[in-house]
Symmetry: C2
Subunit: 201 residues, 2 copies
């Protein structure tokens, strides 16, 4: 039986585009499967993420500093380590984790859903999970997930890029109807805040 207790889904502190967009994506997927979740964030979106959210006309997730006592259960995306998560993590139960970082100082009292893959982006893992669960990725969400992959892999140029990221970015690009190459350059520029500043070396 799917757990109906309200859960918060969030990425790491000082959230980047993957932390925010993967929370939105995972919350959407889990709700489709019958869970009762809300995507939130441990901080406000940075410049790149704000630009992405504006481009795809999606509002920024509610900012939280604690999960308890609002909820008793949480789902983590894009992180697992204590110093990256909410300060009251020990007061709640982590039921699900989807991440692509090393695992450190993460302990549970009971078995949980933990999915980690050594790929370039959490949104890449989530793309695969949507397939596994036969849930269609809506256009707007595909745009956000594509943006997360562009962000984490620096438009597929980072050495952390894997074939799974390439495959996912192409698929998400098709779904949202936005060419990831031209869009990606604009997204990365928005994050460096080049616009409006004088040319630098």
């Amino acid at each position: 039986m799917i757990d109906k207790d309200k859960q918060l889904v969030f990425g790491h502190r000082n959230p980047d585009t993957d932390a925010i967009d993967s929370a939105i994506a995972y919350s959407y997927l889990m709700n489709k499967l019958g869970y009762n979740t809300e995507a939130v964030a441990q901080g406000h979106p940075n410049e790149e993420t704000s630009w992405v959210l504006k481009y795809f006309n999606h509002k920024a997730p509610r900012v939280i500093t604690h999960a308890y006592p609002e909820v008793k259960k949480v789902m983590l995306v894009d992180h697992n380590e204590p110093q990256q998560t909410i300060p009251d993590i020990k007061k709640v139960t982590v039921t699900h984790v989807v991440d692509h970082h090393r695992i450190a100082n993460f302990d549970t009292l009971a078995p949980i859903y933990y999915t980690a893959r050594p790929w370039g982006c959490t949104s890449t893992i989530l793309t695969v999970m949507f397939h596994h669960h036969n849930v269609e990725i809506p256009k707007q969400l595909a745009g956000l997930m594509m943006s997360a992959i562009i962000s984490d892999t620096l438009l597929l140029k980072s050495p952390t890029t894997t074939k799974y990221d390439v495959k996912a970015i192409k698929e998400l690009s098709k779904i949202c109807g936005v060419d990831y190459k031209t869009y990606g350059i604009k997204e990365l520029k928005a994050g460096t805040n080049v616009a409006g500043k004088s040319a630098k070396h």
Copy 2:
């Protein structure tokens, strides 16, 4: 690019049927995907597992006490905690984990493949993974995996049993052509070593 370095795949100390059969299953799957692995075990099969291996005509995995220096990389099934694994775990790299227990004192230096589900048996998770990778489960292996689920869930009677275990056991039963209910009773009896002993209360 799939990693071709030799890896050992094994379950926990004092291995039970799931520890042994899931190692055999995961090694098979990973090799189909291009990895170079061997299923081993941290101990000899117990009575139940010996009975299962004999029934399906599969030899017991080689027993190891250490992984290093034979290999530099390992895959863990059915456990993650240090006291459950090989004593020289810190000398090797854990590249993959598939487990259904709580996570405790498990740390990595780099991102890895970690798949944990709060289900009744590691072999259940592996059944799903075979599907995701579009790899057919051969008859003999299906028998071993079915036996692991029977063992861990006490023929689906344990409170740890989930709908995923039920679904998997039925599917594996069909593949190996052995009725899990009648077979399962015999398997569990073999483990309690009732045969040959006088009736107990």
